[in-house]
Amino acid sequence: MGIQGMEILAVGVVLFMFMAVLKQFGVLEPMEDSSESDLELSTVRHQPEGLDQLQAQTKFTKKELQSLYRGFKNECPSGLVDEETFKMIYSQFFPQGDATTYAHFLFNAFDIDRTGSIRFEDFVIGLSVLLRGSVHEKLKWAFNLYDINKDGYITKEEMLAIMKSIYDMMGNYTYPSVREDTPFEHVEKFFQKMDRNQDGVVTIDEFMETCQKDENIMSSMQLFENVI
């Protein structure tokens, strides 16, 4: 490079710096859009239905509903629980394992109308069924939980998914340790019991029938009544 090359370079440097300064002052607009996102869901709120209506829909007393709502509102001031929060909350109870998959299934079981977030009504209605419902209702709820695609049939794949998620919650350190095929065997046993006509799927009637005949299941249904 001779003198000339160097001078051209110098001029180039000066021009570049000039443009940088202009850009800084906003005279030359940069090409990208300014990001205005992030305003989406933070202002979304939900207020529940009136106390009386909820009382009619569920089997809780007014005081119980009040207490439940206070706790709910404290945790979720916006009135809605989205799936991520739900997973996080549920995972805190099972520190050893990974509860996210099961929490996902649970979320879908509570979020009846598939809105993507649980409102207080969903929460309370679900709890009402679980705690104060009849055995029939509870079993129906359990069936709904296992039926992932909500088509009325529990297939082996669905059951396997549920089983795996339950075993995931146990974590790695169990005695005896969970082997690869433990969930599979558990599912086989379940299907043997439940699937009356051996057609590979369990319908709700088969499910109800089998459970009502099983004493263990029937007696343990009363266990969680006094939780609230």
């Binding site: 001078e7 649970l106 705690l131 299941i217 266990l223």
Partner: protein
């Protein structure tokens, strides 16, 4: 688990119904339910501020005071509320912790007060939320540092030496803290003076004086008056050597001393002289020796022992080492870049100064620091453009780390100022506290004098005793019990010293009494004590700060002197104990701010209404006889 989790637990338990049809085994029984599941509102009354909250809220944290059954201790049956006699402002934050699960640290509160509240309510400070944790930690560290600093300084400089300290220890103490004795102070000023003289001599000897007769050009004064300067230099070096050797002798850890910065500076300052003595008068070697003389300028660093500001500056530079390092590194980078660019830019020019890249370094440094000597100037256009960029960026690069260093210096300097102020105020505070304390003792002694220890049957005593509170009565009774237990009596410093004086007088004047011979032992220590009193003025700091920290916090119960002459015989042992040690006569204190209302006038000087015990030492002559009377009187109490 956090509060939120506790709220969701019932829900998680309910959802367990989903496992039931799949369960391999039967489920265990649920835990027994507590009696009241219904939520109720509790009232918590904190110093009059009534806070109300749901019981569930408090139950979220069962290992704290409010969450456990410990709060039942504070339950007030009549008002059906929990009453706490604590700060209501702080309680607000505590309660918010229960409500939201996050503990916040209020910035305007004192960190220790906050800690105490947390400790009371059983909450560990680690729970403080991230938003406030940093502030909390900073304040706590600052506080701790300050306290440590104070105690350290106290220990190091102002605790009095034990009487059996060796010469070495005393010497070291004198060197480290020149204010402890006049000798040390004198030495301090003398060395300071000689450092100044030496530095000035070094400077002046290079100034050109008028040439002596027979020479053409001016000579530097050093060569004209070489003998005078040599003598001066010798004297200074003598002093410095002496000082260095004394310090070396007195240092508790010689290795550490030799490695310390100040001692290295000392050595470097005096070495050139000795090397010069040893060196032969050789032409080549003395050329090298002349350059060694430049090290004499290090003597100026010896001033840092004398000036605290210099020490602070040095400490600041040390603590800003990383910023300085960054500055240096970025400057070096910039210098190399710009020197390279300038060299290649100016390469084509004829007769250019920029002969090589290292030669361009000089130009770059001069330009970046905005000096601009003008000895090297670019002439091509490219060179000028890059040169101007270089000078602009130089300003920025240098300006960036400087505020950091400045703020560091300012912080350290102010810290030092505060520390000094605190130390000065500490002395005043302690003096006042002593005053109050001696008031307490005198209160008790007055109480005794006024016959308070007897049954309060006679009416005229009511006037004398004045309006003493129940607390004082009980306190005085307690002190009296102690007296009876040990068969000694409380007295105060004056009296005790007077007793010592009296005994020493006794010993010297009348050798007839058998007592005095037996007190030969005690006299020696008493006389030492007398001497101590004489130099008390010079060592005012010693008496004030003696065990200062302890004075502020703890109880000292002195062993009182024996009262009567007869018991004096038996208890010379005790007397010796009292005299011999450095034990201070702090009166028994239970609470510091006790009755100033009663005794400010009576504490010092003591009122004449109380004969004998609390007299000042002017009447020394008839002191002994008076004392005997009083001794008998006391023993009859």
């Amino acid at each position: 688990m956090a509060a939120g989790v506790a709220t969701w637990l019932p829900f998680a338990r309910a959802a367990a119904v989903g496992w039931l049809p799949l369960a391999k085994n039967s489920m265990p029984k649920p835990p027994g339910d507590k009696k009241s599941r219904h939520d109720e509102i509790l009232i918590v009354n904190v110093s009059g501020n009534r806070f109300q909250t749901w019981k569930n809220t408090l139950d979220r944290y069962p290992d704290t005071l409010l969450g456990s059954s410990e709060k039942e201790f504070f339950f007030n049956e009549e008002t059906q509320e929990y009453f706490f006699d604590r700060d209501p402002e702080m309680f607000r934050h505590i309660l918010n912790f229960y409500r939201t699960g996050k503990l916040h640290y209020p910035r305007h509160e004192c960190i220790q007060a906050f800690d105490e509240e947390l400790a009371f309510y059983g909450i560990i400070p680690e729970i403080i939320g991230d938003c406030c944790m940093e502030e909390y930690r900073d304040r706590k560290k600052e506080n701790q540092e300050r306290l440590e600093e104070d105690t350290e300084a106290e220990m190091a400089t102002e605790t009095p030496l034990p009487p059996d300290s060796t010469l070495r220890e005393r010497l070291w103490r004198a060197f480290e803290n020149p204010h402890t004795s006049t000798m040390a102070l004198v030495f301090y000023y003398v060395t300071g003076f000689f450092i100044a003289v030496s530095v000035i001599a070094n400077v002046v000897e290079t100034v050109p004086c008028r040439a002596p007769k027979g020479m053409l050009k001016d000579l530097p004064c050093g060569e004209k008056f070489s003998l005078a300067f040599f003598c001066l230099d010798t004297a200074c070096v003598m002093i410095f050597t002496f000082e260095y050797l004394m310090r070396f002798f007195a240092a508790p850890s010689r290795g550490k001393f030799m490695r310390s910065v100040m001692s290295v500076i000392d050595v470097v300052a005096i070495m050139p002289y000795y090397i010069g003595l040893v060196m032969p008068e050789n032409e080549d070697v003395s050329g090298a020796f002349v350059t060694l003389r430049v090290f004499r300028v290090f003597r100026i660093f010896k001033f840092s022992r004398h000036s605290q500001g210099l020490r602070i500056l040095g400490y600041t530079l040390k603590s800003c080492a990383s910023e300085l390092g960054f500055l240096l590194f970025s400057l070096t980078m910039a210098i190399i870049i710009f020197a390279t660019v300038m060299f290649y830019a100016e390469k084509g020019t004829k007769d250019t100064n920029f002969t090589s890249i290292p030669a361009s370094f000089w130009y770059t440094i001069v330009t970046m620091t905005t000096l601009g000597y003008g000895d090297m100037v670019p002439s091509s256009i490219a060179g000028k453009i890059f040169g101007s960029i270089c000078s602009l960026s130089g300003v920025l690069v240098i300006a960036l780390p400087v505020p950091v260093i400045v703020s560091n210096f300012s912080r350290i300097y102010h810290q030092n100022q505060r520390a000094d102020k605190r130390r000065a105020q500490l002395k005043i505070r302690l003096a006042r506290i002593r005053l109050a304390k001696s008031g307490t003792t005198n209160a008790f002694l007055q109480y005794k004098e006024h016959g308070g220890l007897q049954d309060q049957s006679s009416g005229n005593q009511a006037l004398c005793i004045r309006n003493r509170s129940t607390f004082e009565h009980q306190h005085n009774h307690l002190l009296h019990c102690l007296e009876k237990t040990t068969n000694h009596e409380f007295t105060d410093e004056h009296t005790y010293n007077e007793v010592c004086m009296a005994e020493s007088m006794d010993y010297r004047t009348s050798r007839s009494t058998s007592i005095s011979s037996q007190q030969g032992q005690s006299t020696s220590c008493c006389s030492r004590r007398a001497k101590r009193r004489a130099i008390r003025l010079a060592n005012s700091t010693v008496s004030v700060s003696r065990g200062s920290i302890q004075e502020l916090d703890t109880l000292h119960v002195q062993k009182s002197i024996p009262q009567s002459r007869s018991s004096l015989n038996a208890r010379t042992q005790d007397l010796k104990l009292n005299c011999g040690g450095d034990m201070d006569f702090t009166a028994a204190i239970i609470s510091i701010p006790t009755p100033p209302a009663n005794t400010p006038d009576d504490s010092l000087p003591p009122s004449p209404a109380i004969p004998g015990i609390l007299r000042n030492s002017q009447q020394m002559g008839d002191m002994s006889s008076q004392y005997t009377q009083e001794a008998i009187k006391i023993s009859s109490l």
